[in-house]
């Protein structure tokens, strides 16, 4: 059986890893900020 693998593009792999990491970072910072503001809002409503 012959294995017909596509040529592997290391540069493209690094580019995708980088862009995915960047998006994950933005999402995490966004979530941290969101949870902070939710807490403040809930504390405001409770008091």
């Amino acid at each position: 059986m012959t294995d017909t693998q596509e040529p592997f593009d290391l540069e493209e792999l690094r580019r995708r890893q980088k862009s995915r990491s960047r998006i994950m970072g933005i999402c995490l910072i966004g979530l941290a900020a969101l949870f902070f503001f939710i807490t403040i809002a809930k504390m405001g409503i409770a008091s």
Partner: protein, 302 residues
């Protein structure tokens, strides 16, 4: 080593265009809810959670339907059928997003809204995608309920309550009913001009199973209760004159377009223009009607 999917493909997996209608109707449901206006941060979080829930539904739908999507020209370019993403990544993404959206909505607002969101995701995946879609031409009639949940969830997020003395004619359920009845004419007008796609994929959409003439009649027949529901929201006192006039005018136009599509000669070869027109108008119709509901409520407050 396989190439990881691009983040844009994960975004495409959430069906952003379908999501936009869910976001909008959920926001409207939230804004027309009675009582004190929801805290903006919690309102924003609720809309975000509903959007993520809709995205999870889209992702899980595409994960399940990869072979069907591959057979249809309209969907063959999606990340999974085009081979830009593996199925396991799509499944993990969909399940993760679904759980996260429900928990986020529950913690930020209330668990009534969160349960409704969970029900809508499961309904879309299990009842519509897995059960009804491959089996019956009535798939989108019942399955359309999944798309009708967002305004109810938005309302529940704002009020924490969906119970009234008459649950199925209360305002959130009237909004639900409006989208529910809107879905068949909207979707069947689309299915008329992409029916070869559905036939190739083996999906028993109405034009494939019952034929074009029958679909045209059904479009018209379903438009009648939809129009009645749109106007009933006003007549029952759930909305004021801004909505009432808008609903009456736009429903009249919808009815005329549906009448044309419903009874026109099927031999005319004009690129299905009336069907395309009805499809695009139906989207506009729902957007404007929900916007008018909000406008009415806020004019009433001002």
């Amino acid at each position: 080593m396989t190439m990881p999917a691009d983040w844009r493909d994960f975004l495409a997996l959430t069906k952003p265009r379908v999501m936009s209608l869910a976001i909008f109707t959920a926001l409207c449901g939230m804004l027309v809810a009675p009582g004190q206006v929801i805290h903006p941060v919690l309102g924003f979080t609720a809309i975000l959670a509903i959007a993520l829930g809709a995205g999870a539904s889209g992702a899980l739908n595409q994960w399940y339907e990869v072979e069907v999507d591959r057979a249809m020209k309209r969907t063959a370019g999606r990340p999974l059928p085009a081979g830009r993403m593996d199925k396991v990544s799509a499944l993990h993404f969909g399940v993760g997003l679904g759980f996260f959206s429900v928990l986020l909505l529950g913690f930020a607002t209330n668990w009534t809204a969160a349960i409704m969101l969970a029900v809508s995701i499961l309904f879309y995946l299990l009842i519509y995608t897995v059960w009804l879609k491959p089996r019956t031409p009535q798939n989108i009639v019942i399955g359309g309920a999944a798309g009708a949940f967002p305004p109810v969830i938005g309302w529940a997020a704002a009020t924490g309550d969906l119970s009234t003395s008459l649950p199925f004619i209360s305002m959130p359920w009237m909004m639900f009913l409006l989208i529910f009845l809107w879905t068949p004419p909207h979707f069947w007008s689309l299915s008329l001009f992409v029916r070869t796609d559905y036939a190739n994929a083996g999906i028993p959409m109405l034009p494939v199973v019952a034929g074009e003439t029958s679909t045209r009649r059904q479009i018209f027949l379903y438009t009648l209760p939809m129009v009645a529901c749109a106007v009933a929201i006003w007549l029952m006192g759930y909305a004021g004159p801004v909505y009432g006039v808008t609903a009456a005018l736009l429903s009249g136009v919808f009815l005329l377009l549906a009448l044309h599509v419903g009874f026109r000669s099927t031999t005319t070869d004009d690129g299905m223009k009336p069907e395309r027109r009805l499809f695009w108008f139906s989207i506009l119709y729902l957007f404007i009607l929900f916007a008018a509901l909000v406008a009415d409520r806020w004019i009433g407050i001002a």
